[in-house]
Amino acid sequence: MTADAERAPAQAGAGGWFEQRTRGRALAAALLHVRIPAEARTLYFGGSALFLFGIQVATGTLLALYYKPTPAAAYDSVLYVMSDVSFGWLIRSIHHWAANLMILFVVLHLLRVFFQAAYKYPRELTWVFGIGLFGVTMVFGFTGYLLPWDQRAYWATVVGTEIAGFVPLVGDQMLVLLRGGIDVTEATLSRFFGLHVLVLPLALAVLLAVHLTLVHQLGLANPKRPDPRGREPEGRTTPFFPNYILDELIVWYILLALLVVLASLFPAGLDDKANALETPVGTKPEWYFLAVYEFLKLVPRIVGILVPIVGLGLLTVLPFLDRNPEVLVRRRKIAAGVATVVLAAAVALTARGFLP
């Protein structure tokens, strides 16, 4: 990128001034002017998740300007944002909906990569870091859910942390670690806030950087044929920029419109202030934990805890377990069958969780 041949000719004006001092054109060329398989179908799930993460960073930063992470003040500060801060309702509602959509698109992205077998050679590490991003996104949702400190948030956290307490051998320690004590208290709120605005963004940024670097280095997978070992893949290609970027941009705008509609028609709600002495009827975790929650109710506790943990572990090392080189679903009947059953079970359990 620093070779003379890649240097842009000297330009006049501000553009030239910056180019001479940054040599950014070469960097942009290296990042953008790549070609992707014409048969690649990303369905824009990963890009959408990335866009939503950007929305979360922007709206989360604005919310943090007003939010006070103590049980005495948290609820009122959120109420203040919703009632008195100019467009505070819009910022918080977009943050709320973008969080839900981000989890949805991360899951859809994971499913797309699985069914297109894009986790196979040479993208095993991309998959592993992607699973890491999935985990961090889920913890993002879990920690953020408590912050309004209303009844729904408080009791969903009580239930959620109790599930962690069921983990064999280390459950009690995990429970205390998560809550900062035996019960959900101001210690819990403090550490959830710290995790949500400091630790998790940093972790997600690092994992995302590695994930995107690997995507850039290895290119997009062709869902029709596996990558050949030891040589460059063949087939028709299309420019990443501007063709794919324009498609992605259109999707992002549509997502932005969706967020505006959701935030305007269904603004983020606020229940009564958290009360540790009054358990509301029908306390449940958020929708993305409902499947695990319902599974726990149906099977012995040890099974209900170990199955999701082992399942996540197996998912992480999937590229190293699945030795089948084929990428087409019809030639991966066992993997596709197992995944379809697991997915159907998760959807059914989540739907069951929504029943009164």
């Binding site: 790549v34 070609r35 893949p233 028709r236 498609d247 705008y253 305007s264 028609l265």
Partner: protein, 498 residues
């Protein structure tokens, strides 16, 4: 509970008969049996004997209680005897008596230290065996009326004396009616549990069913001529629903109004005090009213609210839907025109209305109209505000401040409704006006939220329209790019980083 028409008549009848001929009555009933229906109708007529049919509680059954800490050989032998005896022994062992050191011999007599039947169950030395129903109350009383014995358990000792004041105890003592409830019918015999044990029959939420086990049984109640539908009626009342369906421990069970050990219907003069045990503030307001000044001739709680069928009070309590057929005897004694209450007129729920007594031509009727109008106006404004707030919350608006204003309006509204018990128009109107003002304020906040919601939706349409325009422009650019030579997908046969 307030007495029904028949009960009041019976009280009067008994009062007239029992006071001058009390001693004679005692003699008459002393040998009677409940199984005799004729006698039941005559001598058992009053469910609430006043004055008492007995001079006082009989002495507890003398029973030589074995010293604490001794062996309980009865348990060892009986549990090995057969399945039935084993069940009884186990029930005792797990009961509050079994865990509290009360042994078999404490109730059955005998020598618990001996494993020889002839000694352990020697009737000449105090062995009772299975006590009769007449004996049982006295046996329980031999400990439960003994302050010295009960001290270590921190239990009251007045249940025994209370029982003999109850309808159950009076009948047992006066006419040896063994069909009445005795201690073991409610508490169990060998399997006695603490009243605070949720599985105990005497645990407050279980009490209505316990009482109904006899009082809803037509065969058992037939000799006494008392109704058997109280449980059915109570279970649908505001009290019954709160206790049986909502499991609200504050809600009254049968015992809350009738008493437990001293169970009997409250007399007409007791009703206000009985209801006032819980409805303290309402009782105080009632005592300020003209109704309270009129004493027995005036309406009591049950006149408007009923007894077992107490419902949520509402505006309908003021007037009949169709003007009633007024009769002088409803409120006046025809002999001297003095005020009285014709209790029959309030038996039907539809007749528990102010205009049952107050005639449309009277000044008081006009005052009732003013009270009803004042409350109705406040209630209408409150309902309207509540609907607006609900509407605003339904479109996702934060309405906490409106809720606070509505809560304040609710407080004033409840105060004005409660103030009806004073019958004072000024006081009621003042509270109702405050409720109306606060409800209007809450509604104004809710309307502002609804307006804001409309603005948000209009702004949303504009923003989405702008985004659609941008998307259309991007789609056009994208098509143009696709048509550009060299960018039609026919690039080099290579993927990945360029």
């Amino acid at each position: 509970m307030a007495p029904g028409r028949g009960e009041v008549r019976r009280v009067r009848l008994l009062g007239a008969a029992a006071i001058p001929a009390g001693v004679l009555l005692l003699v008459l009933v002393s040998g009677a049996r409940a199984e005799d229906p004729t006698l039941a109708q005559v001598t058992f007529a009053s469910p609430s004997p006043s004055p008492s049919l007995i001079p006082g509680p009989p002495p507890p059954t003398p029973l030589p209680h074995p010293p604490a800490g001794g062996t309980n050989q009865c348990f060892e032998c009986h549990r090995a005897l057969n399945h039935r005896q084993e069940t009884i022994a186990t029930a005792w062992q797990e009961s509050i008596h079994g865990t509290g050191g009360v042994t078999c011999a404490d109730c059955h007599g005998g020598d618990p230290n001996s494993d020889r039947m002839g000694i352990a169950m020697d009737r000449t030395k105090g062995f009772i065996g299975k006590p009769s129903r007449e004996q049982t109350v006295g046996i329980c009383g031999s400990c439960h009326a003994d302050a010295q014995r009960m001290r270590k358990y921190n239990l009251p000792t007045d249940q025994y004396s209370q029982y003999w004041t109850s309808v159950h105890g009076q009948r047992l003592a006066a006419v040896a009616d063994t069909q009445v409830a005795i201690c073991i019918d409610c508490h169990g015999s060998h399997d006695i549990k603490k009243a605070s044990d949720p599985t105990a029959a005497v645990y407050p939420p279980n009490v209505p069913k316990l009482c109904a086990s006899c009082h809803a049984d037509a065969a058992k109640m037939d000799p006494y001529g008392i109704p058997t539908d109280q449980y059915e009626i109570y279970s649908k009342s505001v009290h019954g629903v709160a206790l049986l369906e909502n499991a609200d421990p504050r809600a009254p069970s049968c015992a809350s109004c009738h008493g437990s050990h001293d169970a009997k219907p409250p007399s007409a003069t007791e009703v206000v005090e009985v209801c006032g045990k819980c409805h303290t503030a309402t009782q105080a307001l009632f005592m300020e009213s003209r109704h309270a000044e009129l004493s027995t001739a005036a309406p009591k709680c049950w006149t408007c609210h009923g007894t077992h069928d107490v419902a949520q009070p509402s505006q309908k309590l003021f007037f009949h839907e169709v003007q009633p057929d007024y009769q002088c005897i409803t409120c006046h004694d025809l002999a001297d025109r003095s005020l009285r209450i014709e209790l029959d007129r309030f038996k039907a729920e539809a007749d528990r209305r102010c205009d049952t007594c107050h005639h449309p031509d009277s000044d008081i009727y006009a005052q009732v109209e003013a009270i009803a109008g004042s409350l109705s106006g406040a209630q209408g404004t409150f309902d309207s505000a509540e609907a607006r707030i609900h509407e605003a919350a339904g479109v996702g608006m934060i309405v906490e401040d409106a809720d606070v204003a509505l809560s304040e309006a609710k407080t004033n509204l409840i105060q004005s409704q409660a103030a009806v018990h004073t019958t004072k128009l000024t006081l009621i109107s003042q509270s109702a006006a405050e409720a109306k003002t606060k409800a209007e304020s809450a509604e104004a906040i809710a309307r502002a939220r609804l307006d804001e919601s409309l603005f948000r939706r209009a702004a949303m349409v504009v923003v989405v329209a702008l985004i659609v325009l941008i998307v259309v422009a991007l789609v056009l650019v994208r098509r143009r790019v696709e048509r550009r030579p060299g960018d039609d997908g026919q690039g080099p046969e290579k993927t990945g980083a360029s």
